[in-house]
């Protein structure tokens, strides 16, 4: 799974330009996402990683450029096409973005309600399965989001994103704010799910450990565009001050050493 299965990308971004007022976030950004890969998007604070995620999923309207997902133009898609796209991807927001008035199980059932002939019992059973798949205990399904810890909320958010078995999931800072044990359990979860469900994962992160533990390919956002993409070893060769600093700084070395002995072997 280190190598993309298909040669054609399933998401293709070309010449993307986003701006807020006079502040230009992206200018001429190109990016490809291939089926089955875990793509890590990194960049300094304020380089627009989350904005890119929001632009691809249609939450933010770019000023110019083209975004194509599964052969559909995201920006000009008809409402029906949008619905079909929404079925094919799932988004996990930073703090889970669960609906606070619903229990976790009801949250996961929300996307399942779009399937017309699913009985309430089946819906409930599938929601329970998703909750268990992301590693939450059965009883968490009855809890309200405010009763869960940050890590559990993220897992519940992932369960909701996975409810319809999307082909791509977008994860916004999945390990931010988690303790190291929780974060590495989440990394493991992403690996397992991507392998078992054949998921493509678009991962926005700051976390070097996550990059080392999960990502097949990395895209670096800098200077308002995707500066470079490639595998981790390739990143070390890139001759750019920020990339050098990021991937060879003291924290990067620690993360690299930590992952070398075991974690990556079973993912490879």
């Amino acid at each position: 799974m280190t190598q993309p299965d298909d040669s054609a990308p399933i998401i293709r971004v070309r010449g993307l330009r986003t701006q807020f007022g006079s502040h230009v976030v992206h200018d001429g950004l190109d990016l490809d996402v291939y089926r089955g890969e875990i793509l890590g998007v990194v960049g300094g604070s304020g380089t627009g990683k989350s904005v890119l995620l929001r632009a691809i999923t249609g939450l933010e309207r770019p000023a110019a450029g083209r975004i194509e997902a599964f052969g559909t133009e995201v920006l000009t898609a008809s409402p029906d096409d949008r619905d079909r796209l929404d079925d094919r991807w799932g988004v996990m927001f930073q703090d889970g973005a669960l609906f606070s008035s619903l229990t976790v199980r009801e949250n996961v059932e929300v996307p399942l309600r779009r399937i017309p002939d699913l009985t309430p019992e089946l819906r409930r059973a599938l929601a329970d399965l998703k909750i268990s798949l992301v590693g939450l205990p059965y009883r968490a399904g009855d809890a309200y989001p405010s009763e869960l810890s940050g890590g559990m909320r993220k897992r519940a958010g992932l369960a909701r994103a996975l409810a319809l078995d999307p082909e791509v999931v977008f994860l916004d800072e999945p390990t931010a704010g988690l303790d190291p044990i929780g974060a590495s359990a989440f990394d493991q979860l992403i690996n397992t799910l991507s392998e078992a469900l054949g998921l493509t994962v678009f991962l926005v992160t700051h976390d070097l450990d996550t990059l080392y533990a999960t990502c097949d390919r990395i895209a670096v956002l800098a200077e308002k565009r995707v500066l470079v993409t490639g595998t981790l070893p390739e990143m070390l060769e890139v001759d750019h001050p920020w990339v050098q600093e990021y991937f060879t700084g003291p924290r990067a070395r620690l993360a690299r050493d930590a992952v070398r002995p075991d974690t990556k072997t079973e993912a490879d």
Partner: protein, 377 residues
């Protein structure tokens, strides 16, 4: 025997061959076909072979249906075997099988009469705790006030002035308009009733006594409760949410003197003034309406007012203002301190602060009425 589901492209074929029947599935085993798949798998024998070689796509919902079938088969002593499953399907089935949720019964909840008693008991205890919390908060405020009197340096004068502006000055237009309209309404209603007896001139007494004793200050307090209790609760609650209050404590600042004393003191200073403004505007509205409706000239209104209405009516009205002010301030700040980490509790506490403050003001007003009736004022 073939069952075909044209909508989903799912087909289920039963074949009786040799030892175990073979169920051959073809098409997409996805969440969209789950309902028909579940229905089609219902009468599968406990021991059978499931052929997946013609399955084009399988997702977790399809895998769940198979795992569920396995579980039911195992429960009745049967066993399912698979044939022709792709590597990905095997992996998915394995993952789903491991994750199959085991239903845990919810912890026993009381029902019927017991539940009723339990809920009632919880509410009574909750109400008692709430009242105790309010009284403790009032004590905290008084202690803070006392502290400020002893150490005037700790007092935040700027903050007090800012809150006075917010609580008092900015409320003047709405309070004036409200009181003016109340005066108008009273004069109008009084006129229609009193005219039947030819006692129009008593409308002055009616307006003066009801506005000065009760309505002026009570309605002002209610408006201020809606405006200010919610504002106090929201301001303090959002500070609590962002841990600003914790930060204050670690920096050696006492939230009582920094946040509560200036707010409640501002209310204490401003509410009597607002009450007085309401009294004046109420009389003004009443006088105007009496003039238009009954032809009682302003000078006659004034003469009658001065002659008939004792100053004690004004005192009885305004003496309640400081008490209402403390009630509104304490309820608002206390509710703000009850806010938990989430935004939902902020909204809940804000609306509960307004309701509690208005309710408490009305209760206090009723107690005042009884008290003044007893002492004969």
């Amino acid at each position: 025997m073939t069952t075909s589901m044209p909508t989903s492209g799912l087909q289920i074929e039963h074949e009786e061959s040799g030892a175990a029947p073979v169920i051959s599935l073809s098409g997409a085993l996805t969440v969209h076909a789950l309902a028909s798949l579940q229905a089609g798998l219902k009468e599968v024998p406990q021991t059978s072979v499931i052929d997946l070689s013609k399955v084009t796509r399988i997702d977790t919902a399809g895998a769940w249906a198979l795992a569920d079938l396995e579980r039911r088969a195992a429960a009745s002593g049967g066993r399912l075997r698979y044939r022709g499953a792709s590597e990905a399907a095997e992996l998915l089935l394995d993952t789903v099988r491991r994750a199959m949720p085991v239903a845990e019964p919810a912890p026993g909840t009381a029902t019927g009469l017991r539940a009723l008693f339990e809920a009632t008991g919880k509410r009574v205890v909750g109400g008692y705790d709430f009242l105790r919390g309010l009284v403790a908060f009032l004590g905290m405020f008084l202690a803070g006030l006392f502290r400020v009197v002893i150490h005037p340096r700790e007092f935040r004068f700027t903050s007090l002035v800012a809150h006075c502006d917010d609580v008092g000055l900015r409320a003047v237009p709405i309070v004036s308009l409200m009181a003016f309209l109340i005066g108008v309404v009273l004069a109008f209603q009084g006129a229609t009733q009193l005219r039947q007896f030819g006692a129009e001139v008593f409308v002055v007494d009616l307006i003066a006594i009801s506005v000065l004793r009760e309505l002026g200050i009570l309605l002002t307090a209610i408006i201020v409760a809606g405006r200010t209790a919610s504002a106090f609760c929201a301001a303090i609650g959002s500070m609590k949410m962002r841990q600003e209050i914790d930060a204050m404590r670690t920096l050696g600042l006492d939230p009582v003197t920094v946040l509560f004393v200036p707010r409640i003191l501002a209310l204490l200073l401003m509410l009597p003034i607002l009450g007085l403004i309401a009294d004046i505007m109420g009389l003004f509205g009443g006088a105007l309406m009496s003039w238009i409706e009954l032809g009682i000239s302003p000078s006659m209104f004034r003469t009658r007012l001065v002659a008939d209405i004792d100053i004690s009516n004004v005192i009885v009205g305004l003496v309640k203002a400081p008490v209402f002010a403390v009630i509104i301030g304490v309820v608002g700040c206390h509710a703000g301190m009850q806010v938990k980490g989430d935004a939902e509790s902020l909204g809940r506490m804000t609306s509960s602060a307004v309701v509690t403050a208005i309710f408490a003001v009305i209760v206090a007003d009723a107690l005042f009425s009884i008290f003044f009736a007893e002492v004969g004022m």
